[in-house]
């Protein structure tokens, strides 16, 4: 079975030959385990791809986001980094005052100038499932622009300037998604980390009031053009999964082991679980047997004629042999 068909069947719960594979890799991994990474990628090739990106107008970034030093992102946020291979932190946010500082923000309209022909050519040339080269993340980008604590306090009682800015950001993201939805990609991706270790970061009521309508628009734009929507959200987000299902989200990448497989089993068959395997404890510390057990438990709890993507992250401190075992276990589980 070819990758595109495998992913389509997975998302539609139509008995793919096995769950699609996808390995996420942090720059840190390239620095620390280049050979092991290459071997895993060769042994368990991904069923997904991203298109090549060329912009008529180059996004205005400065520096390297994953190197020690300073990096300025496409919006003008400056990150400070003291560790190679990971992203840094914004220490001086651009928007200290909603009334005075909003004009300092650069909306990266350069992203709209991507070469659509090149993207379409790539989509036609591959059997892999292609996800768009953009990723709306309103909550996280707001944190970078406003500062995390300032933003949280804004959310407790949102000032009108905040709402105006959020509307402007949302319009921009919608415009970006409209452009990508016109291409021949299979899917688009959105992300925002909504969970802490044991609960949501903000109240479900605030989330439904302020952010759920944004995601609805993103999903509707994609679906109206026949694209699926994948979302990444870290942390304990159990409280909003029913909302994401209601919005029609196709696949969710979340920390399933943080929330508990037994609790997530209630949503089996309603949304595709796009990984993962516990990267807080199991991938860095677990034994091979524990990894195999985790994959087996995941399979039992969440697979329903599809609806599962064999994804994990080869990130900080993960043991290469454990990452490899994740994919081996998934493959073994579906071997004849």
């Amino acid at each position: 079975m070819k990758s595109r068909e495998r992913v389509r069947r997975t998302l539609e719960f139509e008995n793919p030959d096995r769950p699609p594979f996808e390995l996420w890799v942090l720059p840190w991994t390239h620095l620390h385990y280049p050979e092991e990474l290459e071997e895993i990628q060769k042994s368990f090739p991904s069923d997904f791809a991203g298109p090549p990106l060329e912009y008529r107008q180059k996004p205005a970034t400065q520096g390297n986001p994953h190197r020690i030093g300073s990096y300025v992102d496409e919006w003008g946020c400056e990150f400070t980094n003291i560790q190679d291979g990971v992203i840094g932190e914004v220490k001086t946010p651009l928007i200290l005052d909603w009334e005075q500082d909003v004009e300092k923000v650069h909306f990266p309209r350069e992203w709209l100038t991507f070469d659509r022909g090149l993207v379409n050519e790539f989509c036609r040339s591959t059997d892999l499932y292609v996800r768009a080269g953009c990723c709306p993340r309103p909550f996280e980008q707001l944190q970078f622009l406003r500062g995390t604590e300032n933003l949280y306090m804004d959310l407790a009682d949102p000032p009108k300037e905040f709402q105006q800015f959020l509307n402007k950001m949302h319009s921009f993201y919608c415009e970006l998604l409209e452009e990508w939805a016109k291409t021949e990609v299979d899917s688009v991706m959105i992300m925002d980390d909504w969970g802490a270790q044991k609960s949501l970061l903000i109240s479900p009521r605030s989330w439904r009031q302020l952010f759920k309508p944004l995601y609805k628009d993103y999903i509707d734009i994609a679906h109206s053009r026949g694209k699926t929507v994948f979302m990444h959200s870290d942390g304990h987000i159990l409280g909003i999964i029913p909302d994401l299902i209601e919005l029609g989200l196709d696949a969710l990448n979340s920390q399933v082991f943080c929330m508990g497989l037994d609790r997530l089993a209630a949503f089996k068959g309603q949304i595709t679980f796009w990984g993962e395997i516990d990267r807080q404890r199991l991938l860095p510390e677990g034994s091979l047997q524990e990894i195999r057990q985790a994959v087996s438990d995941f399979h039992q709890a969440l697979y329903d004629s599809g609806g599962v993507i064999a994804q994990c992250e080869f990130g900080l401190a993960a043991k290469p042999q454990n990452v490899r075992e994740v994919f081996k276990a998934w493959r073994d589980n579906f071997s004849l």
Binding site: I202, S206, G239, L316
Partner: protein, 211 residues
């Protein structure tokens, strides 16, 4: 006469302006600063912690309550010092060496302050020497370390070893937390406690200083 229930409510509801104005009025009316703190402000923050642990409050509510507490404390602190009133205890808190993340650390610091502790916030990327200096020079009873990255967790172990080597391990309790940190890891490195949230950290710190 100031309505003290308003002070409790102002902290609970995160109304910094009201917390400040009620505190000012209460001082004018002759309320003892320590009573304001012990009878209204700390109980309000305890309730915030309870609501946080029961998923009725979330990070935004916790932060605005801490802000309200802080605005009232700014008025009370010099008066408490004048009156020789000691804090519940002293905590030195920081994100460990190599790690710049601070939201978790700041939440814990805010809740500890709200719980009546004097908090010495050492910031981020804090080496062992700064924690040790805080114990030796400021007399802190509790060291609280945070890490968000798996790769910076070993700095917690290093700091504990350095505290041991400095001969001050028996003068201080050490608690750790952060996304990749677990109870097991805390135990393995010899920390005295692990906390997975800001509210529980206050309960643990109180147990340390109350013996």
């Amino acid at each position: 006469m100031a309505d003290m229930q308003q002070l409790y409510d102002a902290v609970l509801n995160g109304d910094a302006n009201l917390a400040r104005s009620v505190t000012e009025k209460a001082i004018e009316d002759g309320f003892p600063p320590k009573d304001l703190l012990d009878s209204y402000m700390i109980p309000a923050m305890d309730e915030v912690g309870r609501l946080f642990e029961e998923d009725e409050y979330f990070v935004p509510e916790l932060l605005i309550s801490a802000r309200a507490m802080k605005s009232a404390l700014e008025i009370l602190r010099p008066l408490l010092a004048e009156g020789g009133v000691e804090p519940v205890g002293k905590v030195a808190i920081g994100t460990v060496k190599g790690d710049l993340h601070d939201i978790g650390k700041n939440l814990v610091a805010a809740m500890l302050e709200g719980g009546g502790f004097e908090v010495i916030d050492l910031g981020v990327d804090v080496g062992p020497e700064k924690f040790i200096a805080a114990v030796k020079e400021k007399g802190v009873q509790v060291v609280a370390m945070s890490a968000l990255l798996t790769t910076t967790m070993p700095s917690m172990k290093t700091t504990l070893q350095e505290i041991q080597a400095a001969g001050i391990r028996d003068q201080v309790k050490v608690m750790v937390g952060g996304a990749p940190v677990t109870e097991r890891y805390a135990s393995e490195i010899g920390a005295d406690a692990y906390s997975d949230n800001a509210s529980a950290a206050v309960t643990i710190a109180r147990s340390f200083v109350n013996g």
